[in-house]
Amino acid sequence: MNVAIKLRDPTAETSPMRRARLAPLQSLSNQTVALMDIGKSRGAEFIDRLESHFKAAGVATKRYRKPTNTKVAPVDLLQKIAHEAQAAVIALSD
C-alpha cells in the first residue's frame, strides 16, 4: 500500500488496527445468496452451475449481472443486492 497520509487513532485502541470484516454467515439456512455475473463471456454458464448446486442444497438464490466487466458495479446494483441477499458470489468464467 502506498501510504499517502497517516492518522492517529482517536479510540482507546482496544480493537485491532485492521478494520473488522463482517462476520461470515454461520449457515445458509433461510438466507438468500446473490449470484452476480460480472459480465464476461460465458459467465452465465458458470453461474447456472452454481445456481443448480445451491438449489440442490435448498439455498435460495437471486441472479444479478453487471452492465460491463470493465467497471465497478453501479451503486444501485450493490444496494439492490445488499437489500435482497445476505451473501453474494461474484463470479466470472475465465
Binding site: N2, L7, R8
Partner: protein, 481 residues
Amino acid sequence: MPDYIFPNDGFVIVAKRDCPTCVLVEPVMQSLDREGHLTVFSQDDPSFPAGVGHVVDDRGLERSFRLNIEAVPTLIRFKDGREVERTVGWERAEWTRLAGAAAAGDGLPAWQPGCGSRSVEPGVHEALVARYGDPGLKSREISVAEWDDPIEACFERGWSDGLPVVPPTDERILRMLAGTERKPDEVVGLIPPNLAPCTVEKVAINAVMAGCKPEYMPVVLGVLEAALDPLFVLHGLLCTTHFSGPLVIINGPAARAIGMNSGVNALGQGNRANATIGRALQLIVRNVGGGLPGAIDRATLGNPGKYTFCFAEDESDPDWEPLSVRRGIVAGKSAVTLFHGEGVNGFIDQKSRTPEELVRSLAMGLFGVGHPKLCLAGNAVLVLAPEHYKIFKDSGWNRRRIEDALYQALKRPGRELIQGAGDVAEGLPAAMVDKMVDKFQPDGLLLVRAGGEAGLFSAIIGGWPGQSVRDECQAVTHEIR
C-alpha cells in the same frame, strides 16, 4: 539527521527573499561566497541570493527546522561538521567577528534586525515537527492509502458521529496540543462506558476531528472533566432510552475569548466554538469510551443535540448573576455547567407585561417538561431571551427573585396530578393526592440568559428522569482551569 545537508566546515546563511534585511545583506553573501565555504539555505526562492555559487533550495524548510532557525538572516559557522557559532539579523560587528573582513558589508548600516523564519510561522512549526521531527505522540498510527480519501477512512473506521470529521494528522494534533499547557500523556479520566483512560492527547485527537481550534482546548478539557464528575452520571446518561444528552453551558472570559455565541441563534448552528466543543465531547465518548448508538446508547429517539449542544450565557448585563456564579464559581472565572438536556422546547408569550404574568405563563410551559402530570422526574433549563428578561429587569427583579417566584408557581395540588386524574392514566402515585407537589427539585431549574434582541420567547430544555435521585445525579458546574 543526514550528514549531507550541512557543510563540514564553513559558513551557512539561512535567508529568504521576502526579508528586507536578507536583501540588504545580499552583497555580503556574495562577498563571503568569493572567499569560499559559503552555503545559503534559501527559504522562499532558490534564485535568491544572486551571485552565490551554492544556494540550497530550502522551501521545504527541513534544514531551517533542523537548525532551529527563528529569524533570518542567520549566519552560522560550522567546524568539523558541528555548529560552533551563530548570529541572527545583520550586525556588522558580529558578522565580521564570525566571518572576517569579507563580511563587513561596506556601505550598509551597522545594524538591522532580521525577519521571522518561515519555519516558525504560525502552524508551520508543528507541520515540520510532524514531517521531520519526533511528534512524541503515543496513539497508534493508522495509514491511509494513496488513493483513499482520509475523511472516508474515518467514516469506515467508525470514528464519526455521522458527519464528516477532520482527519487527525500529526500536525493538526500538535497544533491542538499547543492550545494547552497540560502534558499529552496526562490522563484526564476514565471515559464510560468502557472506562477507558483518556489522555490529553486523545482529547486533542478528537478535538481535531470535531473541528475545534487549538484555543478551545482548555474549554474542551474543562467540559470533559465536568462530564466525568460522578454526580453527572455520564454512563447512565449514555445508556438511557430517554432523549437526553450532555448540554454544555459556558460562562466567563473563556467563552468571550474564543468567540462563543450567546446571542442571535445561540442554540442553533453557525458558531464554530459552540458547534465543535459540544461535538468534541460526544466524539470522545464515542471513540475513547466506546459509547455507540444502538450498542450501549439505547436512546429510543435521541435528539439532534446529541451531535452537539453547547452555548455560552449572555453576561452583558452587570445586574444579572451568571449561572456559574449562582452555582458557586467565583465571579470572573470561566466555568462549564453540564446538564442532561433533551431538545429545545420553544416558549412563546407575547402578551405578558409584568413579571407576575410572565412567571405564571412560564410555569405553564415548564409544567410540560416530561409530562404535565409528572413532577420531580427531571429538571429543566430555562433560557430567558432578552425581551422576556427585560420584563423582569424593568421591574427590578434579579435572578434570585425570578427563581423564587417560579419555584412557588411550579407547585400544584397532588389531586390534579395523581394517576387517573383528568382521565389521564399517567401521573403521580395516589398517596400524593393531598400534597402540594413541586415540579422540580429546589435547585433543579437552571436559569440562563441567551438569545437575540428580538422575540418575546424563551426556551425550555427538559432534563433527564435520572435527575430525580437528587443525591446521585445532578447538573454539575466546574471551573475551567
